[in-house]
Structures are given as C-alpha cells and as structure tokens.
Symmetry: C2
Subunit: 136 residues, 2 copies
Amino acid sequence: MNVECIQKLRKGHFKITPKRRAILELFDKKDKCLSPEIIWTHLKKTFKQSGFPSVYRNLEIFVKQGILFRVERQGRKRYYALCHDHSGHHHHHIICVECGKADVFPECSFPDIKSVKGYKILNHSMQINGICKDCQ
Amino acid sequence: MNVECIQKLRKGHFKITPKRRAILELFDKKDKCLSPEIIWTHLKKTFKQSGFPSVYRNLEIFVKQGILFRVERQGRKRYYALCHDHSGHHHHHIICVECGKADVFPECSFPDIKSVKGYKILNHSMQINGICKDCQ
DNA sequence: TTCATAAATAGAAATAATTTCTATTTATAA
DNA sequence: TTATAAATAGAAATTATTTCTATTTATGAA
Ligand SMILES: [Mn+2]
Ligand SMILES: [Mn+2]
Ligand SMILES: [Zn+2]
Ligand SMILES: [Zn+2]
C-alpha cells in the first residue's frame, strides 16, 4: 500500500489493517477492476479467516477516500478499480469490456456550466468503455 | 403509447400489449425515473393480475429498443426513464437527485477519437446529476 | 512500553432485488 | 379465423448485499 493511500485513509481516521493492505495490493497486482467476491476469495488464501462483510465495507471506504472507484459492467455484480490519481483533479476512466483493465482517461470535456434546462448541475459521472491493447 | 414507441417495438418484433402500453403511459404521466417495483404497484391497480417478472423483462426490452434508459441512483434498486429522443442521435441525460426527474442533456462534448492509451474506444456512458427547478 | 478505546472483523443470519421456471393466455400475421 | 410465437402470472429459486453481535485489533495517549 503506497503512501498516498495511507494518507487518504488516515485523513478519514481509518485504520491501516492487514486486510486493507492486502486488498489494495491485490488491486495493484491485478491492474483491473475486481468484484467483492474475487477479492474475498483471494483474501482467504492469505488469511484463512476472512469475512465477506469486511470486504464490502472496506471497498466502500476506499471509494469514499478516493482510492477506488466503481466500475459499471454487465451483470449484477459490483466492480471496483484503483483510481490511480492522487492529485484530486476531476477525471474519468476507461475500462476494457473484455478483461476489466482500467486506466485514467486523460481529459474531461464536460462544459463549464452551472445549470441547464432549469436543473442546477451537481456533478456528472462518465465511463468510457473500450478494448485494451492486450484484448484486441 | 406514441407512434415512435410502437415503431421501435415493431422493429424488434415485440408485441404491443396492454401492459406495455400501461408501463409507457405511466412513464409519460410521471415524467421521472421509475423502479420496477413502483411500476408493478401501479400496474396492479389497473390489471389486478400482474407479474413482477413481466415488468423486469419489459423494461429491458424498452431499453434494448431505445425507448427507456437506465438511471443510476443511490441504493440497490434499478431505475429507468423515458429517453425522449426519437432521432436516434447520441445524447445524454440529466437527472434530479431529489425527485428523479429526467431530461435530455442537449450536448455531448466527448472528443471524436477512436482510441486512447492503447484502448479501442467502443462507447461512453454519462449521467449528469442535478436538482430540478421544482426541487431547488 | 502499556493501556484504553474506538474501529475493524468473522461468521451467521437476514434481506430484498432480480431471475428462472412452467403452465396458460394473447397479439399478430397469414 | 386460425396457427404460432411471444407474453404473461405466479410461485419458487437465486444470489448479491447488508445487518447483527461477540470478539479482536490498530492506534494514540500515558
Ligand atoms: Mn468529466
Ligand atoms: Mn456523450
Ligand atoms: Zn482488456
Ligand atoms: Zn427534482
């Protein structure tokens, strides 16, 4: 777990636990989006004791702290991937629909407007779907 | 159910059934995104007999035919809203986070590129979240 | 280093959204 | 009018996610 992730957890008064380290190291190693189940299966190899609810809770904590983001994929499972950006700047991500590989998408062209059609704009979410070099 | 929706269903060889009419009329009337459960509750008033699985299946058929689109909201329920565009042109939507009202977002500024970082770009999805005039 | 404490955890159980299955009904084209 | 594929209801199954509680642990303060 790198120093930026530690800082992001400390900022929210979250503890640095072995399970949390292991989860983030798995993301580092796999370099793609992962489901809670995949993560839990992996944790069981190292820890023998490992609860599903902890995985869910930790994933949402990581999202809250800007370490992971949610990925939309086919099916009704959740997926998460490393944000890979510690600057805090607004950005989006591109996901490989085949293997789930995730990268930062380098620009956001969303117009700098405060409102449209009477709506006050709060935020926008975008996901770019593609096929990565390896899967092409 | 307007003529465009009928055409979109016919194009896929889907039948025009009373339940399908009623679902789309509910969307017309409510002018906001709806969950399967809300739709089913409404259908039961008119039809007495009404199955939950039919609602789910029809909602996905409507998405497939470009009549509805999926809305992301807090919680683990699905929501759908009327696409309100029969031109077939690419566009996005703005959703009121309070009441679920949905409108077409008039422009897409996504760059006209075919690839980025080695990924072949397939598509992108975007949702703009805001607060509508009535909810402000 | 020790200790007090809030935070994190495991495991079991509950929840609830969604899907599957099958017998029956119905919209549609011929 | 009729044959047929499509749609449906209702019950049951599935399964991802959440809740609950007793126990353990990371951390900051003494
Ligand atoms: Mn953006
Ligand atoms: Mn767009
Ligand atoms: Zn790939
Ligand atoms: Zn609103």
